[in-house]
Symmetry: C2
Subunit: 314 residues, 2 copies
Amino acid sequence: MSTKDIYPASRVTLREVGLRDGLQLVKTSPSTEAKQRWIRDEYAAGVRHFEVGSFLPANTFPQFADVRDMIQTVASLPGAHGVALVLNERGANDALESGVAEIASVVSATEAHSQANANRSREAAIANVRRLCELRDASPHKPIVHAAISMALGCSITGDVDPNEVLRLVEKCFEAGVDVVGIADTVGYAGPKQVGDLTWAAVRLAGPKPICVHLHDTRGMGIANASAALDAGARILDGSLGGLGGCPFAPGATGNVVFEDLVFLCESKGFATGIDIDELVAVRQILREQMPNEPLYGGLARAGLPRATAARAA
Amino acid sequence: MSTKDIYPASRVTLREVGLRDGLQLVKTSPSTEAKQRWIRDEYAAGVRHFEVGSFLPANTFPQFADVRDMIQTVASLPGAHGVALVLNERGANDALESGVAEIASVVSATEAHSQANANRSREAAIANVRRLCELRDASPHKPIVHAAISMALGCSITGDVDPNEVLRLVEKCFEAGVDVVGIADTVGYAGPKQVGDLTWAAVRLAGPKPICVHLHDTRGMGIANASAALDAGARILDGSLGGLGGCPFAPGATGNVVFEDLVFLCESKGFATGIDIDELVAVRQILREQMPNEPLYGGLARAGLPRATAARAA
């Protein structure tokens, strides 16, 4: 499958990142069986893109020890697409061996955050991405390679981030052979104007290659920022069921954009997602059972579909 | 003071409606003294526009029995502007007598809701607004008259609402002598495209007269909708501290747009509000003490200002 088949430019793709980003910081994680049900039930609701875990040391991140099971679960569902995160060459080799359809890596937008978080320069992070692309090219199944620019809209260390530096990193990632570049508001600093402006520039810079916009709802701007990203031409957006997730660099941060609300937003703007909101909301029950102490967010879960939408769907 | 002085077209006006819309449905209401502190503390944070209560029968709505005290409190603060709601001629006379600076009334967007909610036709509601304007013209202090079109973006009875019917009502209100027309997504049905489209048309129809956009965050679209309303030219937006409030026609509805987050949105889009977000967030303590069982919402209260914004403000 080519990148264009997985992420067609003609429609919006919504990616469930709750199984990875959503579980990055939780104290108790769902069982493997529950995570598989989460994937299958969302698949039944129409979701096709899942970030399922990381290839990280299992003693530090036990919640991702079963990442290969998750990859298999997604691969067993026709038309479903799995993504796993790697941070170094060892992880990259493990991911390639697993057969996962997409491998994601991260480059910090600021030198200060790159050094503080990954103990390497941004140049070294780009070299890491380039190496990942080489390994992909040498692999039999050639997964999609995704590079996410973290802190692209504000940095927990430097505060403001120069958008031109972000765009230079986007360009370098594509030059390194990356298939999809992500722009991440990791700490939820941005408002819709900033998101729209950066997305607009990145989409034009990328040309036919896709840009993914990854937003956190830290300051309540998540859905407004997603709306601005869509207006600016982004066609891949990340979210997590119930807004699960947080960020180690953002105290008080409350997770990714709420997936259910993101679906409602897209449909309200005329972008068909193929996802049934009522069925999607029902999947939250798995999270409530497995992680009773994790707060879940979201307007659709609270209030249900409007009468008009419900009537049209019936 | 003319309408243009109260609502200058050159800047954004944010109105705190928590003291009226926010308290419409609560089981326990803050004391008069606490509401006065709420007003004074928000005033100190930079808020200037307050919807303070309704002239409704005090036995049905005891939370508004002290509306005259609230009007006095606002009137005592230089540059502050108070609004009170009325639903009939008796309320209008009481409001005129109170000296409140702005009197608001409501017209339902759909005939079905007008009949079910107010037991009158929309035509009768418009006649009521016209009578209010006549009473204003005959009064010594001539308060601003505001007519809000409820259910303008979706109706709890009919579902979809024809935007052309809403625009016709906007026109009729202005013809009746209204100074400001409000467009209300009373049950939080709309997404940003719908809000943007209707606001755009209403702002152009209104010409130099101001349009107020009143949004509820029922389905998590509140801030995205506010952003769309600003993009479409609206310069008056309502919100309530902590997203307080609900709606009798929207079970599970969770209040107005969060005021603090609305301030952040405006500032992030380059609209100066004159409001200090940290000081505004601190006022929530009054609500927590006075209404410990009311849920409060909001991203800024949770996560604080981003490092960049905080650094620039220092």
